[in-house]
């Protein structure tokens, strides 16, 4: 590989480290959340091993949070599994969204990246995929952001399980996550149609907030996508 080629396609290590770096600010908000989920799992009566295994096996913050409440009330296992399935429905949307970029990867890569496909990893990875430049090594960026989140999630739930949740809410660390999403939103607003998709998705999320099990996020996203497509079709017809 000559010098000009290697400059256009950053080495896997550079992409991997870039993914970790992009994930960092979101981790600030994930740490207190993970501690709370770990603590709640203990209070729900799970053994430390089961509480930690939940982070390892399910690896989905919102779903784990709701599951601990169900475990605490003694809900049947099937109800808990069904609830997890609904809460994580939004991940099917992320799966479709990254699929054009993962097509050529091996099965092992697909399985690892699917396991790591959380809200937090998706947000930084898809915006990176959509930037200009050679995408041939960007799955390493995906892996870096996913593993950074995974490691932080395992450790912070472990701290919650064994030490409890000790970060005061007044530090507002979760707000760092929201701010990161704000920073990631602007580069996706490339034209009138994508601005329309964002506005519609955001407003629909306010209206649909009362829906249980994070279905509001799924519904709002679908509304946003539909509005984006409609605007694009209209512009195309009139232009």
């Amino acid at each position: 590989m000559n010098a000009s080629l290697s400059r256009r396609a950053p080495a896997p290590l550079m992409e991997f480290l870039g993914g970790i770096r992009a994930e960092m600010p979101i981790l600030l908000g994930v740490i207190p959340f993970g501690m709370i989920v770990g603590l709640l799992a203990m209070e729900a009566g799970l053994t430390p091993a089961a509480a930690q295994a939940m982070s390892f096996i399910v690896f989905a913050g919102s779903a784990q949070f709701i599951s601990t409440q169900l475990f605490a009330t003694g809900a049947p296992g099937l109800v808990i599994v069904f609830t997890i399935a609904i809460v994580n429905l939004r991940h099917a949307l992320y799966s479709a969204s990254v699929s054009p970029y993962t097509r050529r990867l091996s099965h092992l890569w697909k399985w690892i990246l699917a396991y790591l496909l959380t809200d937090e990893a998706y947000a930084v990875t898809i915006t990176h995929y959509q930037q200009e430049g050679d995408a041939s090594e960007k799955h390493w960026f995906f892996l870096g952001s996913g593993l950074a989140l995974w490691t932080t999630w395992q450790l912070s739930t472990a701290v919650g399980i064994f030490l409890g949740a000790q970060i005061p809410a007044s530090w507002s660390l979760d707000f760092a996550g929201t701010l990161t999403f704000i920073a990631l939103l602007f580069p996706t607003l490339k034209d009138r149609a994508s601005v329309g998709a964002a506005l519609a998705g955001g407003l629909a999320a306010i209206l649909a907030y009362g829906l249980p099990l994070r279905l509001g996020l799924v519904a709002a996203s679908l509304v946003g996508i539909a509005v984006g497509v409609l605007i694009e079709v209209r512009l195309w017809k009139s232009g």
Binding site: A50, S67, S99, A114, L199, A205
Partner: protein, 104 residues
């Protein structure tokens, strides 16, 4: 024992959801209409996460100036728009929030 089976099933169903379209579109060509729609997933999802965080307090619309997260979020949005920098956006947003919390 039931706890472990529940966790295992919950993990499998989560993994299957995340793998779904990644696996499906390996063999099949993604329909062009769908491909076009997928472009709008990031702006729609990100805004759908952000708006309630800033505009709602305990599930209720809070457009008043005492909603510090909304004010700090607007400052951050301005910085994000002008600079496209994640670090500056977070610094501005957290700074604004702490300042407001300290002053009022």
């Amino acid at each position: 024992m039931e706890v472990w089976l529940t966790l295992l099933a919950g993990g499998l169903v989560t993994f299957a959801t995340r793998l779904s379209f990644i696996q499906l579109f390996e063999k099949f060509e993604i329909p062009s209409g769908l491909k076009r729609a997928l472009r709008f997933v990031p702006p729609a999802v990100l805004a759908a996460i952000i708006f309630p965080e800033l505009l709602l307090r305990e599930g209720v619309l809070a457009l008043e100036t005492s909603n510090f997260r909304l004010l700090a979020g607007l400052v951050a949005a301005l910085v994000a728009w002008r600079t496209r920098s994640v670090v500056l956006t977070i610094a501005a947003g957290m700074g604004a929030l702490y300042l407001l919390q300290g002053l009022f």
